[in-house]
């Protein structure tokens, strides 16, 4: 399932950089390590004398391993974007699928951000702010830094400040 069957005009939808998978993997790993550590401590202290002793440690480990091994690949495979002359479209998610379209003239300002993990794996996140109250911030992670800067420059041409 690397492509969604219902997406329109597939050639125009671009995938993001494969490096983004690694960013996600490390993020998930850190997240689940914390959960697993907490579960283990809870197990050792609270459940030691009950019949559930050892259960959280193993169960959380299994869930965490499954999550870290499978989720990043899937999230990556379902994240696409498209930049046309007038629109930026970001398509993501499967269980909760969201297909966001932002007209470029509606963009208020743009950020390109890079965290430490993103720097290591050579990707950047494009953050587009609109005046909206709902989804006023649209993020597009996993872009090559050059591409992110390029998109930023394209959008910048369209940025206006009036609302009317």
């Amino acid at each position: 399932m690397t492509t969604e069957p219902e997406q329109p005009a597939p050639p125009a939808l671009e995938p993001v950089e494969p490096g983004y998978k690694n960013v996600l993997r490390v993020r998930f790993l850190i997240f689940w390590l914390a959960i697993w550590a907490a579960a283990t401590v809870f197990d050792r202290t609270a459940l030691q004398d009950t019949e559930f002793a050892g259960f959280p440690t193993i169960a959380v480990f299994v869930v965490a391993a499954a999550g870290v091994l499978t989720a990043p690949q899937r999230i990556y495979a379902r994240l696409h974007y498209r930049l046309t002359e007038k629109l930026l479209q970001v398509v993501r998610g499967w269980l909760f699928h969201v297909d966001t379209v932002v007209p470029l003239v509606r963009v208020q300002h743009i950020d390109v951000t890079r965290g430490p993990l993103e720097k290591i794996f050579g990707v950047a996140t494009l953050v587009v702010h609109t005046a909206g109250t709902h989804n006023s911030i649209v993020t597009l992670p996993g872009l090559a830094p050059k591409r992110a800067a390029q998109i930023r420059d394209i959008i910048r041409e369209h940025v206006r400040t009036d609302f009317a």
């Binding site: 269980l95 909760f96 699928h97 379209v101 932002v102 509606r106 609109t130 005046a131 109250t133 709902h134």
Partner: protein, 497 residues
């Protein structure tokens, strides 16, 4: 004090303080902000340490007074040639400058105490992220507030010279208001504002504080003891159980109506909407009088709300979603609490928006709107059945509640739809709280097309529109067949770009 510019710079203007009486009016505000402190004191007092509690209370008061005095002393504003500067902060100083060009409007609010003292709170509306206290002068003289408003408007080069130099209360009233509420209308609106919130509040109190009152009117025992006390009354009630139930219901309705009327009179007394150079000017309020101008070109969307009864009688409430934020919690500006269709059209006309077409060709959303909810509640069915087996009465109530939820959703479905009227999107939702939203396509900031694993089974998506400002529950259309949703999105974005 390290000011960013020298003190006697003419372009910046002389520093001004808040009115000294702010020390009085501001006290009420900081009293309200100290809820946690009261809880602590209350605990101390209840647990018998009265002296400690008293000492704490005095300390708290001193602390508040000192904080207030420091705030007042360290708060300065200057009215310059092109901007207003506000320097504030006791320890961390903030120097904020708000260019006149960026100020959308100046809101003037007067609470009851402030009205007696002739003070007003001034808020400079900027287009920026709303919600923050960006530019609020807590208490200055009303006259100065109106001067500021006039100044800001004239500096922005808007055609509001008519208002210049005139105190707000004495604007010539030759031009009749676009919309105003007389007393009759006010009370009618209050009746529709029927609310049993009082009971919810009472219920919450008795649940939280147990028998602070010495009795619990929500327990059976209380009523049994009340009834057993008076012989004749009890006999009467038992003999006329139906009559008693009816009387109780009537009382409930009466209390609900009175609550609604009181609330409405407090907020909407003397409601008046005028057309001014920049936009619509709204004045309302009995104790706290507010005076707000909504610039016409900042209006993002309109909501026409009504209920089943009001709808039948032809009454609507009109709210505007604007970039300027309301002082209240609602987020949207009520421009007409109770208006007829013609009055709504008049107000829309003042915004430069065409009236709603007399008959709107609503496209209904998919029946899946009901199905999705029914499917999403699947885990509850298991619980309901288990209940039915184990505790039949509770289980029956549970099942009835689930059925009621689905029935309500079905009623809502029958009224949920959308229509494209020229270059704007009309959406209609709700059966009990009926709403028609008018959203001009060029005000759409972004569009989300959403699917979840449940809605995918039904082949439907929901559309969610990002619109600037306002705190409304968002603009969305639930459960449209996938293909239609895409078509509608592309069509609306075609207008938007």
């Amino acid at each position: 004090m390290s000011e960013p510019t020298s003190l006697d710079d003419a372009a910046v203007g002389p520093p001004e303080h808040l009115h000294p009486l702010f020390l009085l009016t501001g006290f009420a505000g900081s009293m309200r902000g100290m809820v946690g402190g009261y809880a602590g004191l209350g605990y101390l007092a209840v647990s018998g340490r009265l002296q400690t509690a008293l000492f704490g209370a005095i300390l708290l008061l001193l602390f508040m007074a000192a904080a207030l005095l420091l705030y007042w002393k360290r708060f300065e504003y200057r009215v310059g040639e092109n901007e207003i500067r506000i320097d504030s902060g006791i320890v961390n100083r903030t120097h904020r400058s708000i260019p006149f060009d960026r100020i959308q409007d100046v809101d003037i609010t007067q609470g009851p105490i402030a009205r007696i003292l002739g003070l007003a709170k001034v808020k400079f509306e900027t287009g920026g992220s709303a919600g923050e206290e960006v530019g609020v002068l807590q208490a200055i003289l009303l006259g100065r507030a109106q001067e500021l408003r006039t100044l800001v408007r004239s500096r922005r080069g808007q055609a509001v010279a008519v208002v210049a130099g005139m105190p707000a209360e004495k604007i010539p009233v030759d031009t009749p208001p676009i919309y105003a509420m007389d007393l009759k209308r006010l009370f009618l609106a209050g009746t529709f504002n029927f609310s049993l919130a009082v009971f919810a509040g009472l219920f919450g109190l008795t649940q939280t504080f147990g028998d602070v009152l010495g009795f619990d009117p929500f327990s059976r025992a209380f009523w049994l003891s009340v009834l057993s006390a008076g012989g004749p009354a009890r006999d009467f009630i038992i003999a006329h159980q139906v009559a008693a139930a009816v009387a109780g219901a009537v009382l409930l309705v009466l209390i609900g109506i009175v609550t609604g009327v009181v609330r409405t009179v407090l907020t909407d007394f003397g409601f008046r909407l005028d057309r001014t150079g920049v936009g619509l000017r709204r004045r309302r309020g009995l104790l706290t009088r507010t005076d707000v101008t909504l610039p016409v070109n900042r209006a993002q969307a309109a909501v026409i709300a009504t209920g089943p009864v009001r709808d039948r009688l032809g009454w609507r409430e009109l709210r505007l979603q604007s970039l300027a934020k309301d002082e209240g919690s609602r987020g949207a500006h009520v421009v007409a609490p109770l208006a007829s269709d013609e009055e709504v059209d008049d107000i829309l006309d003042q915004l430069g928006w065409p009236p709603l077409p007399p008959s709107i060709g609503w496209v209904r959303v998919s029946r899946a709107y009901v199905g999705i909810l029914a499917a999403a509640m699947a885990p509850l069915y298991v619980a309901a059945i288990a209940n039915l087996v184990l505790v039949p009465p509770a289980g029956a109530a549970f099942v009835a509640a689930l059925l009621a939820v689905i029935a309500v959703r079905f009623l809502a479905w029958s009224r949920t739809g959308y229509a494209v009227d020229g270059d704007r999107l009309l959406t209609r939702i709700g059966w009990w709280r009926r709403r028609i939203t008018v959203l001009p396509a060029r005000k759409i900031q972004s569009v989300d097309l959403r699917e979840s694993f449940v809605s995918r089974l039904f082949g439907v998506s929901s559309l969610q529109f990002g619109v600037a400002g306002g705190g409304m529950t968002g603009h969305s259309i639930p459960a449209i067949p996938r293909g239609e949703a895409r078509k509608l999105r592309d069509r609306l974005l075609g207008f938007a770009t």
